[in-house]
Subunit: 425 residues, 4 copies
């Protein structure tokens, strides 16, 4: 949460409610292609059923805002706090994460009723809040909005996984994801040594883990102009990438052997060709699109094979901090990475989250937000790596150059790929 510098700069209550309303509506719109049966599936422990996302984001507003700030608010159901708390220890016992797919009740209709109940109460709260209350409420509501945007991305990741798990390979939307475009040659862009500033510093919203802004020293470095493509990744595969332990971290090699990884997630070999599962169903692999759905281990092994390395998150942010925040994001409706276009540094925002070699840890001087919301980010600073830049399922309004996404190194169901880096001169 950010405390606005002065109340004058603050968006009015109506503007915030507009944002709230748009984001809440978008979540439901993203679920429109689903059958009732799809809402309940948890295809692996990391995945949550779509119904759970719909309810949990609602619980967030109910718990952290309505229950504290709307006098006389009645919770929709006394057990929803147990069912839809994700990981907030301060909020008490929770339904086990791995058992979210075992709950046929509440029904989908009841969850939508829960959303309507909370939306109505939120409207009432915003309508009656005075200026003093507003100072407390605004940052919480904006956090709740960003929280729901994170779950919009998870929703699409999870639906893709749910559909890919089903031998019938259902189709979420019928967008054509292929094109005849070709990716430009990869160029190297040089960045000089120096003291850089890292982290968020404006009065705009940011998560606590992006703060405080602080200084770091970077040795000279170089970044690739675009993301690694499927064609390039196939070359790694054909060079024996998945059979050569020298390219791999010891732990990555172990995981890859255990799980029999031979290609990125969602790739399926069909004779001599590769097909990939997309939100538009099974599609032929497009060679010029960025490689997607790879783990940190695979990104790192690819880089080692290419005799390069992954960038650090500081290198990434220093390069992209002043670039315009445009790209193949959720708004394009494509929901699939696109071929790079243009010269210079491209594909920084959208397409795929870029693995960095930076472990997810606290910035110097980091303090978690106070109270239960301090559990939002800080307690995950262990055994995860930072990814930067957003993906084709990230909202533009949710992203910033300082945005730190993070996943364990074995995770592959997020839209993740890589950009190469190298030591500069």
């Amino acid at each position: 949460m950010v405390a606005p510098a002065t109340i004058l700069l603050s968006p009015t209550s109506a503007q915030v409610y507009g944002q709230y309303s748009n984001v809440r509506t978008l979540t439901e719109k993203l679920c429109q292609p689903l059958e009732i049966e799809d809402y309940g599936i948890q295809s692996m422990a990391d995945v949550s059923p779509p119904k759970w996302h719909l309810a949990h984001t609602t619980w967030f507003f109910e718990t952290f805002i309505l229950m504290s700030y709307l006098p006389g608010y009645q919770v929709f159901h006394p057990q929803f706090g147990y069912l839809f708390n994700s990981y907030y220890e301060a909020m008490g016992e929770r339904h086990p994460r791995a058992e979210r797919g075992l709950l046929s009740r509440p029904t989908v209709a009841e969850v939508y009723a829960y959303r309507a109940h909370v939306d109505q109460a939120m409207a009432q709260l915003l309508d009656q809040a005075d200026c003093q209350q507003w100072q407390k409420l605004e940052p919480l509501i904006i956090l709740g909005i960003h929280h729901e945007q994170q779950h919009q991305e998870l929703l699409l990741m999870d639906i893709k996984h749910i559909f890919a798990t089903n031998p019938l390979r259902p189709i979420y939307h019928d967008q054509i994801t292929t094109s005849q475009q070709q990716a430009p040659e990869q160029q190297w862009l040089d960045y000089p040594e120096g003291i850089y500033q890292l982290g968020e510093h404006t009065s705009e919203f940011s998560f606590d883990n992006e703060r405080p802004r602080h200084r770091i020293f970077l040795e000279p470095y170089r970044l690739a102009s675009r993301l690694v493509t499927n064609a390039e990744y196939l070359a790694f595969m054909r060079a024996g990438g998945y059979h050569t332990p020298e390219y791999w971290l010891a732990e990555g090699w172990f995981v890859a052997q255990q799980a029999s990884w031979h290609a990125p997630l969602y790739w399926e070999q069909d004779g001599h060709n590769w097909q990939v599962m997309t939100l538009a169903g099974m599609q032929p692999l497009h060679l010029d699109q960025p490689v997607c759905h790879i783990s940190y281990y695979e990104a790192d092994a690819y880089a080692r094979w290419a005799e390069k390395r992954l960038p650090t998150e500081a290198e990434w942010e220093a390069a992209f901090t002043l670039m315009p925040l445009t790209g193949n994001l959720l708004e394009s409706g494509r929901l699939h990475p696109a071929v790079a276009q243009g010269a210079g540094l491209t594909q920084g925002f959208g397409d795929v989250w870029e693995w960095t070699q930076s472990a997810y840890t606290a910035y110097p001087g980091y303090r978690p937000d106070p109270g239960a919301l301090g559990e939002y980010n800080g307690k995950f600073m262990c055994n995860q790596f930072v990814l930067r830049g957003g993906s084709c399922v990230t909202s533009a309004s949710h992203l910033r150059p300082s945005y730190r996404n993070f996943f364990p190194p074995a995770a592959r169901w997020q839209f993740s790929g890589l950009r190469l880096a190298d030591t500069g001169s």
Copy 2:
């Protein structure tokens, strides 16, 4: 399958179709109280989603009858053979059993359409079958009917487990399951030593595992007149039954410790009282009803504590083979065990399946049915125990005195209880 002694005794095609039709209709009727969301849940590996039962029983008729005997029959969907084969290795690869709950598609509506498609084809087949075909078809259809009746029982067991897993404890039906009745005192009934006949021998239907009829010698024995009640089982619990390894099989003690068993499945302590989950929702424990949802280990431990033993399946069958097949069965609509009534040997049929101390094994001279259907029973003759007598969720028309049900000793989600036995004189 049984080859009818003479065609004259055989039911006519119309009679068989009547049975077929009744059973198929009953399956769907049992699902009427479900929400669409309920159809997809697999609350543990042993449970199958209701949708899967609906489809699998249909696949059975499609695969073993229509595809072989109805010329020009078109399978409803080319992948349903993969999705809805349960365990027939001879029929090829199958969807992994533990992942039945991960399939949102086919939808519930599609599964009902599958049922209608197969029912229509079955009607057509029976309509056009000549006398020669009928001799082959009849035993297969009757097997399919009994197969579907087994799944009706599984359906109710699984719905109970699915609902009990949900913290909201949904209600399947609103039948009142409690009463003020008292169980009569337990009496001992004596049976003399001798050579008895075991197994099925009439021209009526029986499973291959009930055959051939053969001779066994029994030493003199005694059976309790009724099932063990909740009150009696509570006495065992209060005597430290769950904390005294001396009463337990070594393996049972290990399982009970690992799983933290302190009471039968579905019992929940509420202060000093016990509540039990039923198909009518949470209910106070009725002390005079038979104890239900116990494992073999618990039944055996109870018997050891009581200084008695479980009957063998031969002892059970010898005692009940000439008793009238009446009791608290599925037709009562109660779906819960009832208090014993009357004198003499009671509660043999219905209420709860009775654990016997007999391992599930082949009768002398046993031969599995030929072909893929030989996998129906024979390949499970290992590490399972026989239960006898049916339960409150078993159809009367599905049961016989020679009927051998079987479960692994740790299973508790079936409606299982016990009757004591002792050495006679």
Copy 3:
């Protein structure tokens, strides 16, 4: 324990002490080929380190005899009761079974000192026991002797497993195990229907699970004249035995796939030939020797492939009860199965334990021995199968026709094979 019919028939104290002394000496002699390092290894959870067997058998005499009957007896070490209790819940907490190989202390020398301490006390006890005491002591001592004989067999099984686990494949003894002998053709021997007596009935020693003697009815049956040979088992393997689920119990097929079984335990393919690990090190497979180190699942699959079945334990005992107890037993010093010789029913005793299709369960009227020793057999009557006839590592003086050995169906490290049975006429 058996209560001797009359005291007149009882062996004198000196005779019993002679037996005691012989058995105790033999245990240590069996360990002579071991290096100190070999004494501590637990190569899988089922295996116990040789040092543990030496100590546990000693603990048995200390705990069940000396501590109760020798006034002023001082236990050798206060923690040995914790370390060397196997599974007697009544005797208190125990060191976890799977962690027996983690104990470097007590050292081997200390364990031998423990044995000497107990042997001396036992000599003292027997020396001073009067006639009345003797009536109590004798059955306990004889049980302890048989207990130690069981552990002699386990010792050799475990040493074989320990050595086979080591890539250096150490040699236990240099006995030549191969020969040029050929097995005679398998014949079928017929046994008539009738009421037979099963179980032990003499005043000689027997375990509680062999009692009481009781009547059973057998339908007519046939037994093969000799054990199944390696050549015959290879034919099953070459016919795709390990790749054809139709031959297997469902659970056996699952286990075989999980564990990648493609041959009996200890078989290793060397180009086109098979080598087997023996107590004399790696040896070429002898085709005419009985197949050994197979699980129940494999024995059952073989029998199904051969269109025969395994015998029941009653069928086995009825056939062998009056045969002379001779064969390739521990006394031969061979420690490996030998080629069948002669006509008629052969190889009943020694060579390999014969899997029966009988689940290990209580005989009618069975009562466990009283007190802690009641845990000896009864609590394992679940998910195990009976094996009959002893093996090449069983002492002749330990065996009887009524002897019931038992193992879970997946166990293969015991010297186990099979004899075919069939329905008679």
Copy 4:
């Protein structure tokens, strides 16, 4: 490996052989208190049996030096390459790590013979090496020496774990580890912001992961003058540290619950007092000694409870880089952390390894050593945290201010503790 700047500065061959010989002798001296039985135990997967350490360090010299550089060298045993390769994929297949405790052979005597064989060949090689060969050999030998020193520390860690696992709690040495000393009050020492140099830069030996020397920017910070004591850690425990999820990383909380952690490793409650297992056996907890055998999760939770944080490795190195390398190290023979003494920044070297909040990752410009030895460090740069400063079981000659030790966050069997850090001003 480091290429010495000029050959003139290089130690002579005799000096290096002196170091080699001293280190090899010390390894064997550290094993003197062991019984033969102790050499073979692997008390958890992370632990290696002492025998394995003796052989593996020998294999290192045989494989990377003798086989390449000593003409006509005969390997001691053809299978030792398989048995004693730790994790070098480039050197081929290996015995599974978790099964090192299952090998009774080679015997301890054979392993000592292996050491003597390799030592003799090393002496021969050094004797005959000319100046040109020496340039290649010297860095390999020095690496081998440091490698063996690392295993000396592992040997003591592992012996402690092996002895602590044994209910008899054996004693390794009889050094008195307690004293009446009191720890001084903790002071805060301030360090200014600025660009610092990190990593090794002299011609002395360093591991590849300490290089290259590079610049980093540090914001102002503070370090505690001494390590956290047992008394301070007990205060955390008494404040509910092990029961309050707010202090813990999410993953740490999960691990602590799963493993039922309620105190550091080796602490045992004895009524109201605490005992700790040491290499001198069970001892009363000394309140003023540094807390030891805690995981990263516990160190981090303690720091959060204390409203401070762990230092980064850069902060640690910047503070200690010019301090004299003295402290309670292996040479003291104490083998247990000691009470802090004196003013200013103390306990930097020796006592316990200090957890830093820095994930173990590559320095900018890092290149692994070429060939198989490139697997030494680089492939572990994932899901581990850096520890600094050595411990009471680290050799002084093995340590440097730039030395980076690393362990996964759940590891506790190393001698690890913590020093608090804070943001400066």
